[in-house]
Symmetry: C2
Subunit: 188 residues, 2 copies
DNA sequence: CGACATATTGAGATCCATCAACCAATGTGG
DNA sequence: CCACATTGGTTGATGGATCTCAATATGTCG
């Protein structure tokens, strides 16, 4: 996991100024207010959202209940993956949880830029690989760990999470009910 | 999901003969006997394995117990993802479950070929995207469906699976005990 | 046939969801 | 500035889903 992030960061650090300039040119910084949506269900995810500063979550509705699939902090990138790749309506919502600064990049601009600047294509692949590894790890946790262990791992990886994200969303992200999470926390 | 597969298949169908020739040149077909390993834990995954004909599974050990993470059939591609991407020791095993024909492609040959034939790089990205979408869907199932529903979906998607794969592996793949799967099946 | 792998069935324990009541902090309108 | 609503979290009681352990059954293959 960490290694892939290292790879990406190193790659970015070595990018030529021309490529960086393009990246900058096709990105727009914008501030969103707490509760604002970056993306709603049924919309096509036409932008990628780089969280410059703030917090956000991605979720979908299942039987009318919200299932949180991802939590975002500074420097994370938020997209609805299949909606973005296939430019089809999203099942997911993306919502900022605090006032948040976002640098958004247009999908089609990025596709065009990739053709002219092959390093962007390589970057795209590396970030997709990273996402797949992240998903594998998450699946591993669901496959092998009970709720208590998953919670422990979460606060170990993101100690600041509890102060910043309502427990309701954390519980949903961990795949347990709010009540169960509350009891897990009480026990320690 | 299906749409991404369509995209990939269409892309392959339109590949120029030169690119196809290269792909062929760096691939080797080989037959493995039931029970053979394509990859063992702690080895680096230096090849991708295209299942031409047969069945295989990927799994890892957790507390000495085997956890099956993926089942492969004709035309599936088997790799240990992070081991392959980062060329680091694998946590997973890949084993064929029947006598199986595999077309294996060397990692470094493919990396080299990608540089000369940009379409291979595009293909690489599309397949990685497909894998990420597949993982998202699997996570979705673990997040929202109980064991019975997951089993129903599996046999709906792969009706032939039950005849070809021992229940032990299917149970593990579904994240339930063999006993529970047996009871689920008995109930219908 | 015998042996080993694979699958079924039963009983008890455990984890977790659900429903419901309650509490604490925050915010808002009069 | 108070009364009350709202949001977010806790706690208790109960039931359901699933696991584990153990016994039994059913292959399947040399």
């Amino acid at each position: 996991m960490i290694s892939q992030l290292d790879k990406i960061n190193e790659f970015i650090a070595r990018l030529d100024t021309e490529t960086l300039t393009v990246l900058n040119r096709i990105s727009v910084e914008k501030i969103f207010k707490k509760g604002d949506f970056l993306l709603r269900q049924d919309e096509v995810c036409k932008k990628s959202f780089w969280v410059v500063k703030g917090t956000a979550r991605k979720y979908y509705l299942n039987d009318g209940k919200e299932i949180t699939t991802e939590l975002y902090f500074d420097n994370d990138i938020a997209i609805s993956f299949d909606s973005y790749c296939l430019q089809k309506p999203s099942r997911e919502f993306i919502q900022v949880l605090t006032d948040t600064t976002i640098s958004q990049t247009d999908f089609s601009s990025f596709q065009t830029a990739k053709q002219q600047f092959p390093k962007l294509a390589i970057l795209d692949l590396m970030m997709t690989e990273y996402y797949a590894m992240w998903l594998e790890d998450r699946l591993f946790q669901f496959h092998t760990m009970d709720a208590t262990s998953r919670y422990s791992k979460l606060i170990q990886d993101h100690p600041y999470i509890v102060q910043n994200i309502p427990l309701t969303f954390i519980a949903s992200y961990l795949g347990v009910s709010l009540e169960t999470l509350s009891r897990i926390r009480a026990k320690k």
